[in-house]
């Protein structure tokens, strides 16, 4: 009876109900799109950073992240490597040696970020091969290198040219070498484009004079949600504070902060939106209560307890609000699904801005259920909050006066 009563009461004023439903649906739609774009962008930013370089976590020698020096390199004992290889949560371990050196070609020289990689493993994490624009991808052990397009342009080198590298190696020894350019890669991350030189791991270790040592072991996982637990687990398996395990969150606090800041500012916009919608909802709720003063009076007079009437009123509000949420989800879900599977590419000036920040220039949309449960929760809380009015109205209703009106 209550459901029937509530349902019919909602449709007493069709136009008002439709307007209210539409405004809630619009808010949900707008909020969903905004939130979907935000979450999609964050996921994009994270996967760009994580998948492009850091990996989900890294193992270093303790202190390396603070002071990125070759002297803080390490070689994991074999027994530990075996244990880690047996860890099912780890999808891949990517060894790297990383330091700066001077690169020279003809009259020009520049500081470059030298990265010694295992070409196969590196490709598994970062899909580096796909970034190749000219030449060939590195094979195992050879005296060649790949470099970023920006750096190649600056030095004016092309495939087959030979570059000289001069720098400081392990424990301060002089590092000198000549390598020919095998491939040129283009990445969305400006720092890599303009500075990166990739060498095969053994070649780099030889150049730096640090046989078998690496500066970092990047870790790839399939399930990001388990990362914190995995970290603790790895720490356990390493079993000594000689090493440090850091997640991407710890390695890129600026990224995390940037995402949080953006999320908060998005929330503020949604908050304002919901306040505006809330006023509209309140108007409807107010009228739904006020215009039925006489009827409420009759109901209490003939024997309906106020509590039942209050619950009936709240039921009406919640049904109306949820109808709006449902409508909003029905409208936004297909659109978001399409956008999720077909991200919008960004072109022109904006694309450059994105690249500068190391983000792929596409607008990604998330279809995480959180987006919708968030809106539903907000609307529910809002309608219950606004429902205080009708409840109060019924509470202080004077039966005799209500019937007299």
């Amino acid at each position: 009876m209550y459901l029937k009563l509530a349902w019919r009461n909602i449709w007493r004023n069709k136009r008002r109900t439709l307007i209210t439903l539409a405004s809630i649906a619009f808010a949900v739609f707008f909020a969903s799109i905004t939130q979907s774009m935000q979450l999609g962008t964050y996921a994009n930013m994270i996967s760009n950073s994580v998948r492009f370089y850091t990996g989900y976590a890294q193992i270093h020698k303790s202190g390396y992240w603070e002071e990125k020096s070759l002297d803080n390199s390490f070689a994991l004992p074999e027994n530990i490597t075996e244990v880690l290889a047996g860890n099912k949560s780890i999808a891949g371990m990517i060894p790297r040696v990383e330091s700066f050196s001077l690169v020279a070609y003809g009259e020009k020289a520049k500081a470059a970020m030298l990265i010694g990689i295992d070409p196969m493993k590196e490709n598994e994490l970062t899909s580096l091969k796909k970034r190749l624009t000219k030449g060939q991808y590195l094979a195992g052990n050879e005296n060649s290198l790949m470099m970023g397009q920006g750096l190649a342009d600056y030095l004016n080198v092309s495939i087959g040219d030979t570059l000289a590298l001069i720098g400081q190696g392990y424990h301060g020894i002089n590092a000198v070498g000549k390598y020919h350019v095998k491939g040129i890669i283009e990445t969305p991350i400006a720092a890599f484009n303009d500075q990166a030189i990739y060498l095969p791991l053994a070649t780099a270790q030889f150049y730096f004079g640090m046989e078998d040592q690496v500066t970092s072991l990047a870790i790839n996982v399939d399930d990001e949600a388990k990362l914190e637990r995995l970290k603790a687990h790895i720490n356990n398996q390493l079993g000594s504070d000689e090493y440090e395990v850091m997640t991407w969150r710890e390695m890129m606090p600026e990224l995390v902060q940037q995402i949080e800041l953006d999320y908060v500012s998005g929330r503020i916009i949604l908050f304002i939106l919901y306040i505006i919608i809330g006023f509209g909802m309140f108007g409807t709720f107010l009228m739904m209560a006020k215009e039925r003063t006489y009827e409420f009076g009759i109901l209490v007079a003939i024997g309906m307890r106020r509590m039942r009437l209050k619950l009936l009123s709240l039921l009406e509000l919640v049904m109306l609000s949820f109808g709006g949420v449902l409508l909003g989800v029905i409208i936004s879900l297909p659109i978001l699904t399409i956008l999720h599977f077909n991200p919008i590419p960004i072109s022109g000036e904006y694309a450059e801005v994105y690249k500068k920040f190391g983000i792929e220039p596409v607008l990604n949309f998330s279809i995480s259920p959180v987006i919708f449960t968030d809106q539903a929760t907000i609307i529910l809380v809002l309608s219950l909050l606004l429902g205080i009015y009708p409840v109060w109205h019924i509470h202080r209703l004077r039966v005799v006066e209500a019937i007299r009106s």
């Binding site: 009876m1 029937k4 009563l5 019919r8 009461n9 007493r12 006489y294 009827e295 009759i298 109901l299 209490v300 007079a301 003939i302 024997g303 309906m304 307890r305 106020r306 509590m307 039942r308 039966v399 005799v400 019937i403 007299r404």
Partner: protein
């Protein structure tokens, strides 16, 4: 057996501003089975008296016992339950819940009493038949005439099997045919089932149908006559 006993009832509205003495010492009692009209000009205090008798309002002074019970100390919910089970109400107009059909309006009160669906349905249909509205059970109030609506209201008031029915000017918005019809139905219920009716009016045709007429003027009872209709 007395269903209503009122002693020296007074009612002052706006006691702190401009006081209105709506009732100024009213005493009377009603026995089971009466068919009584409270009459008097507009503003004489009829509604005020019926509201107090119906437990919708409380007197400023005086004692009132309804169905053997003093309502003055009842908590709100107890009072509402008392009204639900003991008193049937018919108001001047717009008695019915507009979104419910005739049958549902009658059913509602029995649902509040906790009756089963079957019992409610059976009794609602029976009552609709009794007030001559068989076949109108699925009509919404807006699809019924004013007279038909008032008959549904009488059926609803009867549905809870109350001790008595209070009807405040039930015919005020009806034409004379509907007025006669409604009064005939009420009189029939009274005759056949012994239902006690107390109704207010200032319509002489309605007064003529009452068996007892309590005349109010300016908050006081000026006459109380038992008519002998069927000598």
């Amino acid at each position: 057996m007395k269903v209503i006993e009122a002693k020296n009832i007074t009612k002052v509205y706006n006691a702190d501003k401009v006081p209105v003495n709506a009732l100024r010492g009213v005493s009377f009692s009603v026995d089971k089975g009466e068919f009584t009209a409270i009459v008097g000009p507009s503003g004489c205090g009829k509604s005020t008296l019926l509201n107090i008798v119906g437990g919708l309002d409380s007197p400023s002074e005086g004692e009132i016992t309804i169905d053997g019970k003093d309502l003055s100390n009842l908590k709100e919910n107890k009072l509402i339950d008392f009204r639900l089970n003991k008193i049937g109400f018919v108001f001047q107009s717009y008695n019915l819940i507009p979104v419910l059909t005739a049958k549902e309006n009658i059913s509602l009160i029995m649902e509040l009493q906790g009756l089963s669906k079957k019992a409610r349905d059976d009794r609602a249909m029976e009552l609709l038949k009794a007030v001559g509205l068989e076949g109108k059970e699925h009509k919404k109030p807006s699809e019924l005439s004013g007279g038909q609506q008032q008959r549904v209201a009488v059926a609803r008031a009867l549905a809870s099997e109350p001790s008595f029915i209070l009807a405040d000017e039930p015919t005020a918005n009806l034409d004379s045919v509907s007025t006669n019809n409604l009064l005939d139905i009420m009189a029939e219920m009274n005759r056949e089932k012994g239902t006690t009716f107390i109704f207010s009016t200032h319509d002489q045709r309605v007064i003529n149908k009452a068996r007892r007429v309590i005349k109010l003027d300016d908050g006081l009872i000026v006459s109380d006559d038992n008519m002998v209709l069927n000598p």
